[in-house]
């Protein structure tokens, strides 16, 4: 390669690396602001501000969804595998909302560590499959658990 071109190429690549480093440092510094939601662990650790509008997200705990008799108010637990927070929501839940599903809620955390949501969004994962396959997987999963149970007794 012509030495002049080589030099130019190196200057450009060097500048690009510099800019990439600067952007990288900025993104690391802003990590908390770029994260869309607080996880239950963060909230349990007291990292989330109280009485300020924030987002909280995690998996809906199986068997935790309970509704009041009148009105739309529903409360459910959300977990990230470590801690659980309770979310109360008075509104229409998205179609994908179900137990075991990931959700992101917008709202405020009150003093009793209950998250009062004004909006609930459903997350979905990167797995796509026909219903039959999902059923078969669930059956296999349950069977595996039953086997474990029967082996235990």
């Amino acid at each position: 390669m012509h030495p002049q071109r080589k030099q130019k190429l190196f200057i450009i690549l060097f500048m690009l690396c510099g800019i990439a480093l600067a952007v990288g440092l900025m993104l690391v510094a802003l990590k908390e602001n770029i994260n869309l939601f607080y996880t239950p662990t963060q909230i349990a650790a007291g990292e989330a501000p109280i009485n300020r509008t924030i987002r909280a997200g995690g998996m809906v705990v199986e068997g935790s969804v309970s509704r009041v008799k009148e009105g739309l108010t529903v409360s459910f637990g959300v977990t990230d595998g470590k801690d659980i927070i309770t979310i109360e929501f008075d509104g229409i839940l998205p179609d994908l909302f179900r137990e075991g599903q990931g959700i992101v809620a917008l709202g405020q955390l009150n003093e009793n560590n209950v998250f009062i949501a004004s909006e609930v969004l459903a997350k979905h994962d990167e797995n796509y499959m026909p219903p039959e396959v999902a059923d078969a997987l669930e059956k296999a999963h349950n069977k595996g658990q039953d086997d474990v149970k029967s082996a235990r007794y």
Partner: protein, 252 residues
């Protein structure tokens, strides 16, 4: 192999040669791309099974993913074209970079719009400022910036350089888009298709997606060729070969 590639690179640097070879390649890309996209879209929309969770609304993936993937690939191509233009002073490279910008911008718009349409029934919102959606919007603005530079700067040489620099600097956004769903918590789900792992999608849903992705890439090639040929004719309008080409067309 290497010398053949090197020769092709030098030949593509000649506007006349580029014009002639791409007029021969274009129909192939057009027909293969159209066939693959049609088969993929019809298969995906009518015959692939519905998703266990999202039902039929997941089917927009057959447009959303190819457009999103290609808008990022197109940006990388634009940045590489800019680099080649800046370092090796290859004019054709700048021409290709210029013609890619509006195509990539359209693809980014398609990805954002189909994403919003998909988000409403599944997530429950059209838009959320999470890392993936925001970085994708920045990609669209970068494309618009490159287009704006070409429209704003009169001098061709200056515009080429400025646009190439913007394209190169903006290429830092590409890994950010790709890894946004891993580095931060987002509403958007992680990638289904990765180079290293098996796709997390049933094969009868995945094959039509692959077809539409390849089809979109072929279409993209046709589109870039057509716009570049147009640009070549304009830039070379005073040369002998363009004049003879045009007079041939007029006499036909």
């Amino acid at each position: 192999m290497w010398s053949a590639l090197k020769r092709l690179y030098h030949q593509l640097g000649s506007p006349k040669w580029f014009y002639e070879i791409t007029s021969r390649w274009s129909p192939w890309f057009l027909w293969i791309g159209t066939a693959l996209t049609l088969v993929g879209v019809i298969w995906g929309l009518a015959f692939a099974p519905a998703d266990y969770l999202q039902g039929n609304s997941f089917r927009i993936i057959y447009i959303h993913v190819p457009a999103a993937l290609l808008s990022q690939s197109a940006y990388i191509m634009m940045a590489v074209a800019g680099l080649v233009g800046l370092v090796w002073k290859m004019k054709m490279s700048f021409v290709v970079g210029k013609t890619i910008a509006p195509i990539g911008a359209s693809l980014a718009v398609i990805a954002l719009v189909t994403g919003a349409i998909w988000g409403k029934p599944t997530w429950g919102t059209w838009w959320v400022w999470d890392a993936r959606l925001t970085s994708m919007l920045i990609l669209l603005f970068l494309y618009m910036g490159v287009m704006a530079i070409y429209n704003a700067i009169e001098s061709e040489e200056m515009a080429n350089k400025a646009a190439a620099v913007l394209a190169l600097v903006g290429s830092i956004n590409i890994p950010i888009i790709k890894y946004s769903v891993e580095w931060w918590n987002t509403l958007h789900q992680p990638a289904t298709i990765t180079l290293t792992k098996k796709p997390t999608m049933a094969p009868e849903m995945f094959i039509p997606l692959v077809l539409t992705i390849i089809g979109f890439y072929c279409w993209f090639a046709v589109w870039v060729f057509a716009r570049t040929r147009n640009e070549i004719l304009w830039r070379e309008r005073r040369t002998k070969w363009v004049k003879s080409l045009l007079s041939m067309g007029a006499n036909r």
